[in-house]
C-alpha cells in the first residue's frame, strides 16, 4: 500500500523539448497515456457530432425550413449517429477502462501494452477514414460526399444501385477498422482483469468497475464480430458481385437487419455497462457506504450480458415477423428490465442511510439514476411490440435512445470526468463551474429529450429533413431545439473547467475524495509504473481497511 515514489524516475519530463514529448504520446504503450488519448479523441468527436446535431435541430426548428438541403440533413443524421456511437461513446468508455483497470486491480499496465496502442490507433484511423468521406466520397444520386444511408445503413439503400459513389464504403471500412480496434481492446481488458490482479484480489474482491468491464469485453467480442461480418458481406455485394442483401437478385434486406441488430442491441449494453461501472464506483464513495448487494450487482450485469444477445429483433417488430417471433422478442426485451431494475434498486440501496456528498460526480450520478429509470420505462413501452408498431421509427424512439445514451451514459461519463480528473491531472476542477455545467446540461437535456417524445406520439417519423405544418409538431420541435442551446452552454462550462483546471487547478493530492479503491493509493497523476510496490489487498475496499484499522472490511464475510 505504498504511495511513495521509487527512485526509478529516469527522465525529467519538464525539461524535454515539446517535439520529444509529443513523440512520447504517439509511440506510447502506457495505459494511462493511451487512456487519455482515447478520451481526448472521443471529446473531439463529441464536438463534431454535436455540431451535426445542432445543424439538424436548426433545420427542424420550424416546418418547411430551408437551413440545409435534404442531402446535407441526411448526411448529418448518418454521421451524427455513427460518430456518437463509434467515435465518442466507445473511445471515451474504453479510455476510462484503459486508464483505470490496471490502477484499480493493482497492476502496472495492461496485459498487452502494444496491442493496447495498436487498438487505439485502429480506432483513431477508423474515425479519420470515416470523416475523410467529406472530402473523398459521393453518395446517393446527387447527394455528394459523406455517408447518407442512416447509421444502421439498411439494405438495399447501401447497394450500388442506390448508393453509387464511395461514401458508403467509407462508412463500411471506417467501422470495420475501428471494430478490430474494439476487439483488441476487449481482449486486453479480459486478459488483464483475469490474469493481472494484485495479490489478494480474488474475483469476488475486484472493484465493480473491473467486473463490469470484464463483462463488457466479452460482449464486445461477441457483438462486434457479426458487424464485421456484415460489413465484409456488404463490401462483397458492392464490389465482388455478391447478392447477400441484393433483393433484386434474391438477396434479403432483412438479413442485413438481423446482422446489424445482433450487433446493435448488445452495443447499447456495451456502452451502458461501463456507464454502470462508473455509477457503481462513484455512488458508494459519495454516499460514504459500500455498494449495496455487490454479488447481486455482478450477477445482474452477467444476466444483462446474456439476455442482451436475445433481444435484437425488437428493433425489427415492424418488418413483418410472425406473431410468434414478435412474442418471443417481447418477452426477452421485457425480461432484461428485471436485472436492470435490480441495479437501480441497489444504487438507491447504497444511497439509503448514507451521508450523501452532493459534489459534481454525485450530482451527475443522481441525474443518471433518474433518467435511466425513465429510459428503462420507455424501453418497456417499446418492448410491448404492438405499442412499438406505433412508436417504432418515430421521434419517440429517438427520445428514448437519447435518454439512454445522453441521460444515462453521457451523464455518468461526465460524473467519471469529474471524479477521476484529479487523479489524471493531479489538480482539482472548479466545483462552481461543474455545478453550472450540471444544471445547464440537466435543463437542456430535459427540454430537448422530454419534449421529443411528444411529436413521436403524434406521428412524426425520424430522419425527415422537414415536416408539414398543422400536424401539431411545431411547438415541440421548437422547444427541443431551444433545449439544445442549454446543453451547448453546459458543455462549454465543462470544457472550460477541464482546460482551466488542468493548468491552474489546486493540487488534488493522492486521495481527494477519501475513496477506497487502489487508484487513490498512488500519486496523482500516477507515475509511469503506477505503484511503487505492488499492493496486497484483503477486501473490496483496501483503502477503507487502511483508514479504519479498527473496523476493516476483511473482518466481515462479505
Amino acid at each position: 500500500m505504498a504511495s511513495d515514489s521509487i527512485a526509478l524516475n529516469l527522465v525529467d519530463h519538464g525539461a524535454r523539448p515539446i517535439g520529444d514529448r509529443l513523440h512520447d504520446w504517439i509511440v506510447t504503450v502506457d495505459h494511462k497515456k493511451l487512456g487519455i488519448l482515447y478520451i481526448l479523441y472521443g471529446l473531439i468527436f463529441l464536438v463534431i457530432g454535436g455540431i451535426e446535431a445542432l445543424i439538424m435541430r436548426i433545420q427542424l426548428i420550424v416546418p418547411h425550413n430551408h437551413f440545409v438541403s435534404p442531402e446535407v440533413f441526411n448526411r448529418m443524421f448518418t454521421m451524427h449517429g455513427t460518430t456518437m456511437i463509434f467515435f465518442v461513446a466507445m473511445p471515451i468508455l474504453f479510455g476510462f477502462g484503459t486508464y483505470l483497470i490496471p490502477l484499480m486491480i493493482g497492476t502496472r499496465d495492461m496485459a498487452f501494452p502494444r496491442l493496447n496502442a495498436f487498438s487505439f490507433w485502429l480506432t483513431a484511423f477508423g474515425g479519420l477514414l470515416l470523416y475523410y468521406s467529406f472530402i473523398g466520397g459521393s453518395g446517393l444520386y446527387g447527394a455528394g460526399e459523406a455517408p447518407d444511408v442512416g447509421w444502421f445503413a439498411y439494405a438495399p439503400l447501401t447497394a450500388r444501385a442506390f448508393s453509387p459513389g464511395h461514401s458508403t464504403d467509407f462508412w463500411t471500412l471506417g467501422l470495420l477498422v475501428s471494430g478490430f480496434g474494439s476487439i483488441g481492446t476487449a481482449v486486453n481488458f479480459i486478459t488483464t482483469i483475469l490474469c493481472m490482479r494484485c495479490p489478494g484480489m480474488t474475483l469476488g474482491k475486484m472493484p465493480l468497475l473491473a467486473w463490469l468491464n470484464l463483462i463488457m469485453g466479452g460482449m464486445v467480442i461477441l457483438a462486434i464480430s457479426p458487424l464485421t461480418a456484415a460489413q465484409t458481406m456488404l463490401s462483397i455485394d458492392r464490389y465482388l458481385g455478391g447478392h447477400f442483401f441484393d433483393a433484386q437478385a434474391g438477396g434479403s434486406a432483412v438479413l442485413w437487419m438481423h446482422f446489424f441488430w445482433i450487433f446493435g442491441h448488445p452495443e447499447v449494453y456495451i456502452l451502458v455497462v461501463p456507464a454502470f461501472a462508473f455509477a457503481s464506483e462513484i455512488i458508494p464513495v459519495f454516499s460514504r457506504k459500500p455498494i449495496f448487494g455487490y454479488p447481486v450487482m455482478v450477477g445482474a450485469t452477467v444476466g444483462i450480458g446474456f439476455i442482451s444477445f436475445s433481444v435484437w429483433a425488437h428493433h425489427m417488430f415492424t418488418v413483418g415477423m410472425s406473431s410468434y417471433g414478435n412474442t418471443f422478442f417481447t418477452v426477452t426485451t421485457m425480461a432484461i428490465a428485471v436485472p436492470t431494475g435490480i441495479k437501480i434498486f441497489n444504487w438507491v440501496g447504497t444511497m439509503w442511510g448514507g451521508k450523501l456528498q452532493l459534489k459534481a460526480p454525485m450530482l451527475f450520478c443522481i441525474g443518471f439514476l433518474f433518467q435511466f429509470l425513465i429510459a428503462g420505462l420507455t424501453g418497456i413501452m417499446l418492448g410491448a411490440s404492438p405499442f412499438d408498431w406505433q412508436l417504432s421509427n418515430s421521434y419517440f424512439v429517438v427520445a428514448h435512445f437519447h435518454y439512454v445514451i445522453v441521460g444515462g451514459i453521457l451523464f455518468t461519463i461526465f460524473a467519471a470526468f469529474y471524479y477521476w480528473f484529479p487523479k489524471m491531472s493531479g489538480r482539482m476542477y472548479s466545483e462552481t463551474l461543474a455545478k453550472w455545467h450540471f444544471w445547464l446540461f440537466l435543463i437542456g437535456f430535459h427540454l430537448t429529450f422530454d419534449f421529443m417524445h411528444i411529436p413521436g406520439m403524434l406521428g412524426m417519423p425520424r430522419r425527415i429533413y422537414t415536416y408539414e405544418p398543422g400536424r401539431g409538431w411545431e411547438i415541440w420541435n421548437l422547444i427541443v431545439t431551444i433545449g439544445m442551446f442549454f446543453q451547448i452552454a453546459g458543455v462549454i462550462a465543462f470544457a472550460f473547467n477541464l482546460l482551466w483546471s488542468a493548468f491552474k487547478g489546486a493540487p488534488a493530492g493522492n486521495d481527494p475524495w477519501d475513496a477506497w479503491t487502489l487508484e487513490w493509493s498512488t500519486t496523482s497523476p500516477p507515475q509511469e509504473y503506477d505503484f511503487a510496490k505492488v499492493p496486497v489487498v484483503r477486501s473490496r475496499r483496501p483503502l477503507w481497511d487502511l483508514k479504519h484499522p479498527e473496523d476493516p472490511d476483511w473482518k466481515y464475510d462479505q
Binding site: 447518407d148 435490480i342 451521508k355 406505433q390 412508436l391
Partner: protein, 350 residues
C-alpha cells in the same frame, strides 16, 4: 451555515420534480386539444390502432406507477440522506440484504409477466386476425418516393391517396393490405388507423385496417428510404359505402378526354411522360411513376407534397425539385405553350 446549505439543495431537488410534472401537463394539454388532422396514436379510429391504444393505456399506467414509486425513492434518498458536512463519523456500513434483493427481484418479474401476457394477446389479436368475406384487398407498393395502390379484385390502380370503405362493426368490411416494395425499404404508417408495417423488397408483408369513421387520415413513410423520405406522405380517405362504390366505379373507367385537350394529349404521348406513367385507354402504360388515369380525382400531387392545382401541376412538370428536391420525376423543360396544353390535358383526367 447549515440552514442555507439545506435551502440551496432543496430548491434544485424541487426543480427535478417540476420538470417531469411540466412535461406531463404539457403532454396532456397537447393530447386533449387535438384536431382531426393530427396523426395522434391516442385517437384511434380503427381496430388495430384501438387495440394498441388500449394496450398502451395498461403499459403506461404500470410504467407510470413504477416511475412514481422509484422516483419517490430516489428523491427521498437524496433529500433525506444528503450529508451536511464531510466531517464526522462515517454512516453505518451496510453491505446488502438477501431479503430485500429477493423482494426487488420477484416483484419486477411478476410485473413483467402481467405486461407480457397482455401484450401477447394483442399481438395475436392483430396479427392473426381472420380475413372476413367482405374484406377489400389492396396491394400497396412502395416506390422512391410515392405509393402505388392496386385493387386487384376491383381492377383499380391509383397512387398516394388510398380510398377504403368505412367498416361498420355489425357488417365489417375491413381492408387487408399486401405490402411490397419496388426499390428500398419503406413503412406504411397512418397512426390513427394502425401501427406501421414495413414494405421491403423481395418480401410480402400484410396488415389490415377497419376504419370506424368517415374522413381523411394522414400518415407518411416511416422507414428511411432515400433522399426524399420526408415528403413521401400518405393519405387514407375513408368513404361511406356509397361514396366508395361510386369512387370505384369512376376509377375503373378508362380515361375520358375531350377534343379540346387533344394537343396536350399528343404532347403527353410523344414525350418521355409515357415511359413512366399510365393513362388507361391510351398508349401511355409506364409503371415507374404514378398512374395518371384519374389524376384529377386526387387532392394532392407528388405524394402529398403539394395540393393538386393547375399552378402546382405546372411547377411539378417543369421543375419537380421546386416542390420535392431529389424526386425521381425529371424536369420536362417544355415551352410555355406546350406546358399549358399538357396541363389542360391532365386536367381532363378526372
Amino acid at each position: 451555515m447549515k440552514k442555507s446549505y439545506r435551502g440551496k439543495i432543496t430548491g434544485p431537488v424541487a426543480g427535478i420534480f417540476a420538470l417531469p410534472a411540466a412535461v406531463l401537463i404539457a403532454a396532456s394539454t397537447c393530447l386533449a386539444s387535438i384536431g382531426p388532422a393530427i396523426p395522434n396514436i391516442f385517437k384511434p379510429e380503427s381496430t388495430p390502432a384501438d387495440s394498441i391504444y388500449r394496450l398502451s393505456l395498461l403499459v403506461l399506467s404500470v410504467t407510470g406507477a413504477i416511475f412514481v414509486i422509484v422516483f419517490s425513492l430516489i428523491a427521498y434518498a437524496v433529500v433525506k440522506f444528503r450529508g451536511r458536512s464531510a466531517d464526522g463519523p462515517e454512516p453505518p456500513q451496510v453491505y446488502g440484504s438477501n431479503q430485500i434483493e429477493t423482494a426487488w427481484t420477484v416483484i419486477p418479474i411478476l410485473t413483467v409477466l402481467i405486461l407480457f401476457t397482455a401484450t401477447a394477446r394483442v399481438i395475436h389479436a392483430i396479427q392473426d386476425a381472420r380475413k372476413p368475406a367482405g374484406a377489400i384487398e389492396v396491394t400497396a407498393i412502395g416506390h422512391q418516393f410515392w405509393w402505388e395502390f392496386r385493387y386487384p379484385a376491383l381492377g383499380v390502380v391509383t397512387a398516394n391517396e388510398l380510398h377504403v370503405p368505412v367498416s361498420d362493426p355489425a357488417h365489417p368490411s375491413p381492408t387487408f393490405l399486401t405490402l411490397m416494395s419496388a426499390d428500398t425499404d419503406h413503412s406504411f404508417w397512418v397512426p390513427r388507423l394502425a401501427g406501421k408495417t414495413d414494405l421491403i423488397p423481395n418480401r410480402i408483408n400484410k396488415m389490415w385496417i377497419d376504419p370506424h369513421e368517415v374522413g381523411v387520415y394522414v400518415g407518411q413513410c416511416a422507414q428511411y428510404c432515400g433522399l426524399q423520405h420526408a415528403k413521401m406522405l400518405l393519405r387514407v380517405y375513408v368513404d361511406s359505402p356509397e361514396q366508395f362504390a361510386q369512387w370505384i366505379q369512376q376509377e375503373k373507367m378508362p380515361a375520358q378526354t375531350t377534343d379540346a385537350a387533344n394537343e396536350g394529349r399528343r404532347i403527353f404521348e410523344t414525350t418521355a411522360c409515357i415511359n413512366c406513367h399510365t393513362v388507361s385507354g391510351t398508349v401511355a402504360d409506364g409503371r415507374f411513376g404514378p398512374d395518371l388515369t384519374h389524376l384529377m380525382s386526387r387532392e394532392t400531387i407528388a405524394s402529398g407534397a403539394a395540393p393538386n392545382t393547375p399552378e402546382n401541376l405546372k411547377t411539378w412538370i417543369q421543375d419537380p425539385d421546386a416542390i420535392k428536391p431529389g424526386s425521381l420525376m425529371p424536369a420536362m423543360k417544355l415551352t410555355d405553350h406546350d406546358l399549358d396544353a399538357l396541363t389542360a390535358y391532365l386536367e381532363t383526367l378526372r
